[in-house]
């Protein structure tokens, strides 16, 4: 395969809080190739959003990227090296804050957030905001930028764009606001768009329209996407390849069809089993037991073992790194679960352990309280 557009290696982002270090993203690696939609899926608290902000170097104090490499089109967005005094320091070729701001964000990598109302300024007109963005990032004059803005609004399916141009965000419906943000993201024709749960707040009908529009626009502009979502159905619909995250780690990585039909990690299968199906009536749902543990104090061994129906003694001791499990000639498929022979740590001989999923206490209790989205 050709050189990836974006390559993330062993990325670690941590938050230093009073209660301890939260390992929000703990060593994830993935690639995004040109013209590809890559999914990043997981429950809330899995570290999806921190991972995407890290790619744009938008992590704020007390958070910090503490390790790993991010390469984008041959440039280093993030990279560390050991200095003379043995301390890690940023490498020389790492882009400066100013270069990130002026060249990368918005122009090369754009981001669409979940809540369009929070991303648009309520006291400026929609058209004005879009025009300003185009004016600054594409060095166009005010008139040209306005024309371009109206064209973009029409492109994303805003009815009567000339008159809607002068309206304020509150006069737009949720779906239309999200379209405006997509217009904004596409306006500079970036190579990569990070979409952070852009359709989660929308109705299914509107979500369908937007996904269809994204697929069309993607064909037209050949943009790559990182699509962050917790919704497996959305993944099934638009992604080419998928990364499944659990507690700061990528636990399975595969092409979309393999992920759904040749699932290799128990978490992924549990996630798929727990969803009610629209296309058939399911008598009883099989939920994943318990709640996701806190990233501040992740379980030893495999992080999923406390909720895993297939957990054995060895899962508590061995922390699995993702390994390539596909046969030769097949598309790459990695998973981090020791039940596969490739790990060779004696899973089969190990005795099963009692967990929430295998019959322990239901509905675990979080000491500090996990936040629901």
């Amino acid at each position: 395969m050709s050189e990836p557009l974006l390559s993330v290696r062993d990325l670690k982002t941590q938050f230093f809080t009073e209660d301890g270090t939260v390992r929000a993203v703990d060593g994830i690696s993935f690639d995004v190739h040109e013209g590809e939609i890559v999914g990043l899926v997981g429950e809330s608290g899995a570290g999806k959003s921190v991972a995407t902000s890290s790619i744009l170097r938008l992590v704020d104090s007390p958070g910090e990227i503490v390790g790993g490499e991010i390469e984008f089109k041959g440039e280093t967005i993030f990279g560390l090296e050991e200095g003379d005094d043995g301390e890690l320091r940023p490498r020389d070729e790492m882009l400066t804050e100013e270069e990130m701001r002026k060249r990368i964000r918005g122009r090369e990598i754009a981001i669409i957030f979940q809540d369009p109302m929070e991303s648009l300024n309520p006291v400026f007109t929609v058209g004005g905001q879009l025009r300003e963005f185009i004016e600054i990032n594409r060095d166009l004059g005010a008139e040209e930028a306005k024309e371009e803005a109206i064209d973009m609004l029409r492109e994303v399916g805003i009815p009567a764009p000339e008159s809607r141009y002068d309206e304020y965000p509150h006069q737009f419906s949720g779906g239309m606001r999200q379209r405006v943000l997509i217009a904004m993201a596409l306006a500079c024709q970036p190579d990569l768009i990070i979409a952070d749960e852009p359709t989660t707040a929308l109705d299914v009908t509107v979500e369908g329209e937007i996904l269809e529009m994204v697929t069309e626009l993607q064909d037209k502009y050949d943009t790559s996407f990182i699509w962050v979502t917790h919704d497996m159905s959305v993944v099934a619909e638009i992604c080419d390849r998928v990364n499944v995250m659990y507690l700061g780690e990528i636990i399975e990585q595969a092409e979309v069809d393999d992920l759904f039909h040749d699932t290799k990690h128990p978490y992924t299968s549990a996630l798929l089993d727990s969803m009610p199906r629209p296309d058939r009536t399911v008598d009883e749902l099989r939920p994943i037991q318990g709640v996701m543990p806190e990233a501040i104090d992740p379980p030893a061994g495999c992080r999923f073992h406390s909720r895993c129906p297939e957990a054995r003694e060895v899962c508590r001791e061995v922390h699995p790194e993702p390994r390539e499990l596909s046969d030769e000639g097949e598309a790459p498929h990695t998973a981090a679960c020791v039940k596969h022979d490739a790990f060779g740590v004696g899973y089969d001989e190990s005795p099963p352990i009692e967990t929430e999923a295998t019959g322990g206490f239901s509905a675990g209790f979080t000491e500090t309280g996990g936040e629901a989205e």
């Binding site: 429950e43 764009p161 109705d203 509107v206 727990s274 009883e284 709640v291 509905a363 629901a372």
Partner: protein, 454 residues
């Protein structure tokens, strides 16, 4: 079934909603709706109401779950709140255990509330952060003078256990719980007064999928154990399909279809239901994705379309009787009319528009003449005139625009009744509430919609 009246003696129906309406003032205050004219009497006053719920009727039998589904803004939550009398209905009645809630007030209403509880969408904001969960669960019992202090504490602990929490957590604050657990506390609180009927307003939409399934399972177990009746609101059809016995589909303040779950999902008889079902993504990349999506936004409930409210987005609008176009030509006209209304194109050249919108079929006869006229207006940049011709002469002439549909159709898959508000079903209808001769172009939109399922 055409009459909206006092409850029929159906011993099974726990809740009967009849022609319920809830309108909100669009503006309020002394000068609300005042407009200045340049002619006598110079000042006029017109108020425009938001018709959030506009003539809804249904029954809920004891022990069943009625799912209520629809896009955001269609009036689901307003309906739920009006049914519980948290909002004063504009008109209509809600019979609960034989009593009309719409007529009650004061102490009798307060006492009725003991039997009807509600669970809200946001588990965070529906729990007082400064109260421990034990007292939160006890609060409704206190309000209704149930048990003594000790008895309440014992019951609260018992309920916490029933909903899958540790009774030891009686003294914890809500912030110490995760979203799913908070929703369980909400469940325990609703159950504390031993209600018969619980309205669940999107109870699982704020939760992660894995947690969603746990809470749904608990709700089903509790329903069995305490013999509960649920009105379950959700926008997620997968959840509705899982939990409901019967399903009502709402669009812009009206119920457009109501049937047993299997029947509704496998044999939908309203184009809106069809479109909603087609729009649900299936968690399987081999499913082939979604089909035939709706276009456009839900119209404003201040001035809803006449007749069938879905007609402005419906892919199956019926051709007016006065024209004799082929099906393809009529579809093209409809699509073109909607495109003009949305100003979806800039092109003004009639030939280019013809080849873009009428490639496979062009209307002939009267319809063709009208179309030429509209295209002429567009060429001269007179968009409003073109829009007027297209909507007045085509869209507004359809039976969908002139008559409000209400039909009871045969159920193919189950023995339950099937209500569908769509004129496409007029031939197979068993009964209809459409008063054909009395309806003309001036018919007040939304009037006379009644519910077949009673």
């Amino acid at each position: 079934m055409t009459e909206v009246g006092p409850p029929e003696s159906d011993p099974e129906a726990l809740l009967q909603v009849r022609d319920l309406k809830k309108h909100f003032d669009n503006e309020s205050g002394l000068l609300a709706g005042v407009q200045l004219d340049d002619e006598f009497p110079y000042v006029s006053r017109s108020t425009s109401d938001v018709r959030a719920v506009d003539g809804v009727s249904f029954d809920i039998k004891e022990g069943e779950t009625l799912g209520l589904v629809g896009e955001s803004g269609c009036g689901k939550s307003t309906l739920a709140r009006t049914v519980l009398r948290l909002l004063e209905p504009t008109s209509g009645s809600v019979y609960f255990q034989g009593e009309d809630l719409a007529e009650l007030s004061g102490e009798p209403l307060r006492r009725m509330r003991k039997d009807m509880q509600m669970i809200f969408q946001d588990p965070q904001s529906s729990l007082d952060p400064r109260m421990k969960v034990g007292p939160i669960v006890e609060e409704p019992m206190k309000a209704h003078d149930m048990l003594d202090e000790e008895g309440r504490e014992a019951r609260a602990k018992e309920l916490l256990e029933k909903v899958g929490l540790d009774p030891q957590h009686y003294n914890r604050y809500p912030h110490a719980f995760s979203g799913g657990q908070r929703q369980r506390v909400n469940l325990a609180r609703a159950l504390s007064v031993n209600p018969d009927f619980i309205v669940c307003d999107e109870p699982v939409s704020a939760l992660d999928v894995s947690i969603q399934a746990q809470v749904l399972n608990t709700m089903e177990e509790l329903q069995e154990e305490f013999d509960l009746t649920y009105l379950f609101i959700a926008h997620d059809l997968s959840v509705i399909r899982h939990i409901s016995d019967r399903v009502a589909v709402m669009y812009l303040g009206n119920v457009v279809e109501l049937a047993d779950k299997e029947e509704l999902f496998e044999n939908p008889k309203h184009p809106y239901t069809r479109a909603l079902l087609d729009a649900i993504p299936v968690p399987d990349p081999r499913s082939g994705g979604r089909k035939a999506l709706l276009s456009g936004d839900v119209p404003s409930p201040i001035d809803p379309p006449s007749g069938c409210r879905f007609r402005t987005r419906c892919p199956k609008v019926i051709q007016p009787d006065e024209y004799d176009m082929t099906e393809d030509a009529w579809r093209n006209v409809v699509e073109f009319q909607r495109a003009v209304e949305r100003r979806a194109f800039e092109e003004t050249d009639p030939d280019a528009l013809r080849s873009r919108y009428f490639e496979n079929a062009v209307p002939s006869g009267d319809a063709g003449t009208l179309l030429d006229e509209a295209l002429g207006h567009i060429e001269r940049d007179e968009w409003d005139d073109a829009e007027q011709i297209l909507s007045e002469r085509f869209a507004d002439q359809s039976v969908c625009a002139t008559t409000t549909p209400a039909y009871e159709v045969p159920s193919d898959l189950t023995d339950g009744r099937h209500y569908s508000a769509c004129h496409l079903r007029r031939d197979e209808a068993l009964a209809s509430a459409v008063d054909e001769p009395a309806v003309d172009d001036a018919a007040r939109p939304g009037a006379g919609v009644t519910e077949a399922d009673d």
